[in-house]
Symmetry: none
Subunit: 87 residues, 4 copies
């Protein structure tokens, strides 16, 4: 691997990554747009995000997290309030 060859290869790697990251950033921008549009239609963005997250998470994980939270709250003498969602 001579210096010149390595430099070309390095440049290629960096540029491929930067290209892909640009595309990724563009998609992130699109997603923001969808949320903004939803907000304009009266939806609550924070809750929408929670919905998306919940759909991604399986119910097993949810139950585990919730059980642990209840354990801590009980130890603190705080009633496990019904209005305490995992996400």
């Amino acid at each position: 691997m001579t210096g010149a060859v390595a430099a070309d290869q390095l440049r290629s790697i960096i540029e491929r990554i930067e290209r892909l990251e640009e595309e990724k950033a563009a998609l992130a921008e699109d997603i923001k747009q969808v949320y903004a549009e939803a907000k304009a239609n009266g939806y609550d963005v924070k809750t929408l995000r929670r919905v998306v997250r919940l759909r991604k998470m399986d119910s097993h994980d949810r139950s585990e997290q919730e059980a642990l939270l209840e354990l801590y709250l009980e130890a603190l003498g705080m009633a496990a309030d019904k209005a305490m969602p995992v996400i």
Copy 2:
């Protein structure tokens, strides 16, 4: 307000702010330490953070958030899973 006087005043303002922000950053660091120590003692940091947040939030807010989430989930035909805490 001559230039020189204003410059002195500006410098003073900036420096006061930077000083306060340093102190604030130090406290943030302390908090991180406490969490790290708790983790070393076997606590789940993520859940601890949720507990702190819940204690800060009044139950009115919690209920509102939870009601909205359930509304969305029902609209999507997703059962309101018990294991879905607000935070």
Copy 3:
């Protein structure tokens, strides 16, 4: 938006977001592949990541110094007058 949520509209929003996030995840996967390939060619992945990060920062804060001077002038309520030693 109280009462009934327009289920179809909500579902459409959620699905658009999920679709975009899938595409984004695919790109993230591609990026990982490039790094993995680079690693196979003997590059140090951590260093490559730092290079990418620095290049991004670098393109952001080009000519930061001059910007800062102008900001001082603005903060002093002065037009940017070149012949004036401010700070």
Copy 4:
């Protein structure tokens, strides 16, 4: 840590965190006061914030360029040899 949580220890952790967060919030309040006072003296708050931010960034990425060059050399798997045009 399954089963019973040491309630006293847990409570101690939570309270330490809450105490530190109170102090942090107090500092945030102080900072706001300084900005408010500056504003009363005719300064533009937004610009002041930008000054503070730029000064922070600036102190971070001093000599970023040189760091980047060294990183390229590392990425190429070369010792930092001054007499070598890399990229």
